[in-house]
Amino acid sequence: MSRLDRWFEGMTRQTARRVSRRNWLSRFGGVLVGGAALPLLPVARAAEKHTLGEDGVKGREGDPTRCEYWRHCAIDGFLCSCCGGSHTACPPGTAMSPVTWIGTCRNPADGKDYIISYNDCCGKTFCGRCMCNRNEGERPLYHWYRNNDINWCGGAATQTYSCSTAVVVKVAKEAQPEK
């Protein structure tokens, strides 16, 4: 133990002799402030647009934790990717409802329309984070066939709604005609 102590003491004394405290403080401060300011630069903001996200889509439309994610075009609910799950899996403690709202969304990366299944996760109280209410292609309640204001947990073991996923089923033949 004493050998370790001696080694550390030697190291610290040597550093103290070589590096001035003010020099170190000013450099460390520079790193802190500079690091925080980096994302404010236009370069960083431009780079964000070009980072490849999920499904080969760039920017916010490729980020499953954002409402702008391309698969969320007809969603109405809390995003499971913000609630301890992901855009394809339920958070722990909840189960995926077998009945689901289905629509089509266009993937900006390949320009194709995909059939998306918005399976709800049920079993815990509503998540409350990342509310996303885009509802593209939805119609008022009198078109019950194209209205998603239904509790889709009706088909699950428990009817408590927690959050929604966005699962790709297949490539669609055409966009949903109501859009």
Binding site: P98, V99, T100, W101, I102, G103, T104, Y114, I115, S117, H143, W144, Y145, R146, G154, G155, V168, V169, K170, V171, A172, K173, E174, Q176, P177, E178
Partner: protein, 129 residues
């Protein structure tokens, strides 16, 4: 090079499958949300596999188009006729004979059922053709 080709092949295969036909597309978009991908339904939604036990009964052919899910689907008569031909072949065991036409489907949609469940029981009780 061969490794790269194999990887390319794998990535191509890993792409989501495309709906094979407009019938399958229409089924996925308009039916599968409640009846599920395999037609088994749920506690509250009837299973399409039960179409098999009605298939030989008189009135079943008309009933299948008149049920709310089919009659009120946001599809044209021609698309619904195509979907029904596909759906009956898949779930009732054999394709409808003769095949549904847009005219027939349009006519049947015009006379909706007041009580679909009662009508189903009526058909089920009837003698087979």
């Amino acid at each position: 090079m061969s490794r790269l080709l194999a990887l390319t092949g794998f990535l191509l295969l890993a792409q989501p499958a495309s709906a094979e036909s407009y019938e399958e597309h229409d089924y996925l978009l308009n039916c599968s949300g409640c009846h599920r991908m395999d037609g088994t339904g749920s506690k509250t939604v009837p299973s399409l596999l039960a179409m098999r036990e009605l298939s030989a009964k008189p009135g079943a052919r008309q009933y299948w188009v008149q049920v709310p899910g089919a009659a009120q689907a946001p599809l044209s008569d021609a698309r619904l006729a195509g979907l029904m031909n596909w759906l009956v072949a898949r779930f009732a065991g054999k394709p409808p004979e003769p095949a549904y036409t847009a005219e027939e489907v349009g006519q049947l949609r015009g006379s909706p059922l007041r009580d679909p469940v009662a009508r189903r029981n009526e058909i089920r009780r009837a003698a087979s053709r």
